[in-house]
């Protein structure tokens, strides 16, 4: 179809895989430090060898995948990682891995990774970033605070976006002036949503500790 298709997590391409993941988590548990208030839903998947840090009130939804095989993954407070999203996706761009040995994938506070979005390993997302569905942040990219990667948009490896940058679907960038009123409203909504997950999403975080 086209090269802009985000690399799909195997669970979407091959049917059985997701089943297997859900029942027998064969891959070894990675070392984790998970905040007690964090929610890791059932069927959420953490794999890799490096440390995975998950902050307070962060929610990992079912079938979301956090991969730390090539480097540690740090997720701040109040982040939301929706189903079928992938954080710490390997490969993607050759330049992103190899040259400097261990690169850390870092999500700051209140980052939202929507369904089917992918964050490459070694990417750094600032406070309040949003990656919409099928959005791709390739490895090693750096996003300032409140950046937004729209659906099907792609941030190339090693790219650096200043804060409030929005990557539109057609690839264009736009730096929004950022209206604090709207943003505050968004923050409030985000916070409420995160809190609300305690009601609806049962956590199995103990399983990973």
């Amino acid at each position: 179809m086209s090269s802009t298709d985000p690399p799909k997590p195997p669970s979407t391409t091959a049917r059985p895989s997701s089943k297997r993941i859900s029942t027998v988590p064969t891959p070894p548990k990675p070392p984790t430090s998970i905040h007690p208030t964090a929610i890791i839903a059932n069927h959420a998947l953490l794999i890799g060898t490096h440390l995975i840090t998950i902050g307070a009130h962060t929610v990992i939804h079912p079938y979301a995948r956090i991969i730390s095989t090539e480097g540690p993954v740090t997720i701040g407070d109040g982040c939301v990682i929706w189903e079928k999203a992938t954080v710490g996706m390997m490969g993607g761009d050759s330049s992103s891995d190899g040259d400097e040995g261990v690169l850390e994938t870092k999500l700051d506070d209140n980052v939202v990774i929507e369904s089917c979005a992918t964050v490459g390993m070694g990417a750094v997302l600032g406070d309040g970033c949003v990656v919409e569905g099928f959005g791709v942040v390739e490895g090693g990219a750096t996003l300032g605070r409140r950046c937004q990667v729209q659906a099907f948009a792609r941030v190339k490896a090693k790219e650096v976006l200043t804060e409030h940058t929005i990557v539109l679907g057609d690839g264009r960038r736009r730096v929004s002036k950022g209206c604090e009123g709207v943003e505050r409203g968004r923050e409030v909504a985000h916070e409420k949503m995160v809190r609300d997950f305690e009601r609806v999403v049962p956590s199995v975080s103990v399983k990973w500790m």
């Binding site: 539109l168 264009r172 736009r174 929004s176 209206c179 709207v182 409203g185």
Partner: protein
């Protein structure tokens, strides 16, 4: 991929009836190959073909002319106007004056064209939240690209009637007079000085009007000019002020004649010609290089990001701006529901119900129900494989039997004609041995002549559709499910010339053999987004379909029994059309 293979396009018959004012050149004659002269083949690549080819569901059928009708050979009448986003119906009286746009709070983002929502500027406090009418200020904001009306310095005090409020403010929050006020003001100015001797008066009213604060824009000049011309027409009127100026007095018409017919008359034989406009109040604007200088300066300092893209400019309502700070939110364009008539005989072909929310039609005569449906698919696809193509994403694997045709290798496709009519039809297919164009694909229809059974009436279908799989009739009812599946292919069923492949109650399928031609040049240029080249990789076979059947004058809608009973008094009908089968893409 632009289209899903395989696809069928129908060439509307309206290309056969040239209504052109000018003699057609050879080339276009080639393109508009008519159904009567079979020797000229339809060329799907010809530049005109794109304008006469339609998917079947876009075609209507005129039961009077017994022709399919496309959007070109139908006339449309608007039944109702409505806003696509708030789905409000707009009365026809106000449609035009409101600029064919929604006057409620439906606005689109000037940056990304997505839908704008009205938000509170500040997040509401606990107290405000429960209040029914939260206090402003409000802004328009785009959820997709985060554009807000603050970017152009506009806030609203009320959450409703955004249009009214927008009308009053220019970007940056400058209050401007409405066009009406502008007009009145301009007229007042001109009325002040019927003959233009004392000009100093003109300035004074300009000051007091709010427009003075804002630099006049094109609209101001237009209205000034307009009222100037009006006043001129009035002045030519003997001793009639602009107040009681009437166009339909013969003398004024006479004057107009003198003014705008050949200049000789203008020179003599009337008091004075309409003079030129002199002042800004009369719409005269002279160029000042300073404006351009500061424009260039702004361009250099603010840079690329501050300028508008062509698409953004074209999306604006009027006066496309150069800088993003001058963009305006765009009111949503209205849409219409239209009824369609045959252009030649004025028969009503489709008439939707005028209500916005219903999708029902009062009248709808589809080509779908009156001409046989021509469908093609690769012989080695089964419904299951079609299904997996449909419902699973493995983009590389998807539709591989269509998208990876190798040059000079024979492929077999199953061409099926389904008969929507209630009379059996006799079909004759014709196709050029090689497709026109640079890529010469050989096409052979193994059985070009065959019959297709009549469509039975609704009750049979109902029975069929509810019947379970092991119903013996199913084999014929839905061949795709059983017949063409690999087991049947394997049990020695070979495609042979002159024989149909399979037939059911109202459908017959034959084999089409396609030998894709060789692509010119390097294989590289197939995938390369260019339209022409892309289409060159696509194999499209033009097929001429001639359908003959006997039916009553009443046309379709007769059960077969009836037709048989009547026996005589049946009339012979013939429908013929070109269609284009997109069977796949050649790989270099």
């Amino acid at each position: 991929m632009s289209q899903q293979f395989p696809y069928t396009y129908y060439s509307c018959s309206c290309v056969d009836t040239p209504t052109s004012l000018l003699p057609l050149s050879r080339k276009s004659v080639e393109a508009r190959s008519s159904s009567d002269e079979e020797e000229t083949t339809f060329d799907p690549r010809s530049s005109r073909a794109n304008f006469s080819l339609y998917p079947l569901e876009h075609l209507l059928y005129c039961t009077e002319c017994h022709q399919m009708r496309c959007s070109r050979c139908t006339t449309e009448e608007v039944l109702c106007w409505y806003c696509p986003s708030c789905l409000f119906e707009v009365p026809s009286s106000t449609v035009r004056s409101e600029g064919n746009r929604c006057t409620r709070s439906c606005y689109n983002c000037p940056i990304c064209t997505s839908f704008l929502t009205v938000n509170l500027l500040d997040a509401p406090t606990e107290a405000q939240r429960d209040a029914e009418q939260p206090p402003g200020p409000f802004i328009l904001s785009c959820s997709y690209c985060n554009w807000t009306s603050l970017d152009i310095g506009i806030k609203f005090d009320k959450a409703n009637n955004i249009t009214g409020q927008l009308q009053r403010v220019r970007n940056g929050g400058i209050i401007v007079p409405t066009p009406k006020e502008r007009e009145n003001q301009a007229e007042r100015l001109l009325r002040k000085q019927p003959n233009h001797e004392e000009e100093e008066e003109v300035k004074s009213p300009l000051e007091e009007t709010p427009a003075a604060q804002a630099p006049p824009d094109a609209d101001d000049f237009f209205s000034n000019l307009n009222s100037f011309y009006k006043s001129q027409l009035a002045d030519t009127e003997t001793s009639a002020g602009p107040a009681e100026f009437n166009v339909h007095s013969p003398s004024s018409i006479q004057r107009l004649l003198n003014l705008y017919s050949t200049g000789k008359k203008t020179k003599r034989g009337k008091p004075k010609p309409m003079r030129e406009s002199l002042t800004t109040a009369e719409g005269l604007q002279e160029y000042s290089s300073s404006s351009e200088e500061e424009l260039i300066h702004r361009l250099a300092t603010s840079g690329w990001e501050a300028t508008t893209s062509p698409s953004q400019r074209s999306f604006q309502e009027r006066h496309p701006p150069r800088f993003t700070s001058d963009l305006r939110p765009t009111a949503t364009l209205l849409r219409t529901k239209r009824s369609k008539r045959c252009k030649t005989c004025r028969t009503l072909l489709s008439r939707p119900e005028p209500k916005v929310n219903t999708t029902r039609y009062k009248i709808k005569v589809l080509a779908l129900n009156n001409i046989p449906k021509v469908s093609i698919r690769s012989l080695n696809t089964t419904p299951q494989s079609l299904l997996t193509d449909l419902v699973t994403i493995s983009s590389s694997m998807q539709q591989k039997e269509y998208t990876t045709l190798h040059p000079l290798m024979p492929y077999q496709f199953l061409l099926t004609l389904t008969n929507p009519l209630f009379d059996p039809i006799k079909v004759t297919l014709a196709t050029p041995t090689t497709t026109p164009g640079r890529v010469q694909t050989r096409v052979t229809i193994l059985c070009p002549q065959f019959d297709v059974g009549a469509n039975t009436d609704v009750w049979d279908d109902a029975l069929n559709s509810t019947s379970s799989q092991n119903n013996p009739k199913r084999k014929s009812a839905a061949p795709g499910l059983s017949v063409a599946s690999p087991p049947d292919n394997s049990d020695g069923k070979q495609a042979e010339a002159g024989k149909i492949w399979d037939k059911g109650r109202n459908w017959t399928s034959v084999i089409v053999e396609v030998v894709p031609g060789v692509l010119p040049g390097t294989p590289a240029f197939v995938g390369e987004g260019g339209e022409v080249r892309e289409d060159e990789g696509v194999v499209e076979c033009p097929v001429f379909v001639k359908v003959e059947y006997e039916s009553e004058g009443l046309g379709a809608g007769e059960t077969p029994e009836r037709v048989r009973m009547v026996g005589e008094g049946k009339e012979k009908r013939e429908v013929a059309f070109w269609c284009v089968l997109g069977v796949g893409k050649i790989v270099g």
